[in-house]
């Protein structure tokens, strides 16, 4: 029998790993007594359920032909996540304007069809509009400029 890398198999492995991780990480949380359940009781119950479901998926994937995983769009994935991550890391130090421009420019990099002028205009308009919306509209305590 050939093992097929199906969505069921991978999901099952993820469920089992997450469940085992939670059981392990929460090993020292007190379980309490049946009458007074402790903080570890419910997470253990849920994690065990997750492990069980994961096992069902893994075992089932050996017998039932599931769908293969479709190709992962690496470029948009990296460009978008890099942008939002950098925003989170930078916004308090570098200020809103720089981090927001980064989000827009990096997001547009996910497209092969990168038009510098259009992206520049888009960045200025979006950062100006959305920034002032949250700045004035919701009086968000965001620094527009770098804080050194």
């Amino acid at each position: 029998m050939r093992i097929r890398i199906t969505t069921d198999l991978v999901t099952g492995i993820l469920f089992v790993s997450l469940g085992l991780f939670a059981i392990g990480y929460g090993w020292n949380y007190p379980l309490g007594t049946p009458q007074r359940i402790g903080p570890g009781y419910f997470p253990l119950l849920v994690s065990s359920g997750l492990v069980l479901l994961g096992l069902i998926l893994v075992i089932r994937s050996f017998f039932i032909a599931g769908d293969r995983i479709e190709a992962i769009a690496l470029r948009p994935l990296l460009a978008v996540l890099l942008g939002t991550l950098l925003f989170g890391i930078l916004v308090e130090k570098a200020g809103f304007i720089i981090s927001a421009v980064l989000v827009v420019v990096l997001a547009r990099l996910s497209d092969r069809d990168f038009r510098p002028l259009e992206v520049a205009i888009l960045a200025v308009v979006l950062v100006g509009f959305i920034g002032s919306l949250f700045w004035f509209g919701l009086s968000l305590p965001l620094h527009p400029f770098p804080q050194w």
Partner: protein, 502 residues
Amino acid sequence: MDVLSNLALGFSVALEPINLLYAFLGVLLGTAIGVLPGLGPVATISILLPVTFTLQPQSAIIMLAGIYYGAAYGGSTTAILVNLPGESSSVVTTIDGYQMARQGKAGLALATAALSSFMAGTIATFIIAFAAPVLAEFALDFGPADYFSLMVFGLVAAVILAHGSVVKAIGMILVGVLLGTMGIDVNSSLPRFTFGVPQFGDGIDFAVIAMGIFGIGETISNLGRTEGEREFVKDYKGLWPSPRDLKAIVKPALRGTFLGAALGILPGGGPVLASFSAYALEKKIAKDPSRFGRGAIEGVASPEAANNSASQTAFIPLLTLGLPASPVMALMVGALMMHGLYAGPQLIAEKPELFWGLVASMWIGNFLLVVLNLPLVGFWARLLTVPYRLLYPSILLICCIGVFSIRNDALDVIVASVFGLVGYVLTRLQCEPAPLLLGFILGPLIEENLRRALLISHGSPSVFVERPISLVFLILTALVVLVLVLPAIRSGREKVFAEEAN
């Protein structure tokens, strides 16, 4: 009459200029974002959630409801004009709506959708006004064991919402429940799964998860797709239905309304089930079923009425039992919690102005939808032609700032990015992320009720089958599992046989 005086109170709240303004803004923003391809109500509400945090609770919930109706209507608009359902409940609308549009009757189809929805909304508002207080009264007798079983039932029933694998959907619920245990345990003040990060002491904010998965994650999925061939319908003349059309609309819309209202109350039922059932019903009772799929006006009127009345009656279990029947309702619970309000039977008694204001605003929201959208149909259609490459950077930027604004914490943006990745991976693995959100919201409530029930019963688990209300819900849960699993086994077998035949 009691209900009438309550409705009067509601309208006095909902008609306050400030609330009217927020209802209007909600409907407008909801439609504007909901009309964009790939953004359904859950994503739309997630993205706009932070905007409502600064408002008064009434205004916030009224605006969110407005966003919800707007987004739902926006989804129907794209379903009709470009054959792209904005959400699963308008999938059925594409069948006949898009055909009507291709025959040059896009205006009529859009008007039919709007008018049927309005009719359904009006009737559903009255159903809520009469049914909700009765149900809330009944719910006051619920003990912790009953709530526990009710919520387990709600979660399992919600699996119906997920298309695809039942096992995966239940797994997603458990992942959500597990995520919900993060933070300092209220009873023992023990930090659970906080990984030593102080900000995780309060757990992760549900809006961070929602915006990460549905805002950032779905954007990545959309970018990964190749530009589909979108056939735009440019011609939408003849907006107003003729009297003959109106006559053809009324009866199917009424049938859809009542079917939808009944299904909407059921946890897990919701607008999707309602629209599909309504369509099936119309097709079954039609004199000439072959017209369906070729632009039958009933095929638009009935499902649109059904999904609208279902999306309204879905508020009944939320407001009376605290049970969100759908991901959108889970977002509503989260929004209420942000304002320190807990949905449940006490809400009607303790916050009548909020409850009745919301009920009244449902009708107003539906009214605004018709007023706003009939003249703006042309505008929405043009919005669809804005290239996606200009749209998604704005969506991402709004998500980033929105997440940051929840508690002015940049760490939340990083967490949301991680959930963006999670959301994308989940779609690749064909796991629906919506049950995760539902589990996340209900998880802490389930744990608390389990703890209380066991405390009262001195640790005996038999309390869950001894209390009749609890027992009924557990039996219903078992039935739902059976209904869900049986076809899965059957289709699984078919797959095996198909494999062998190859």
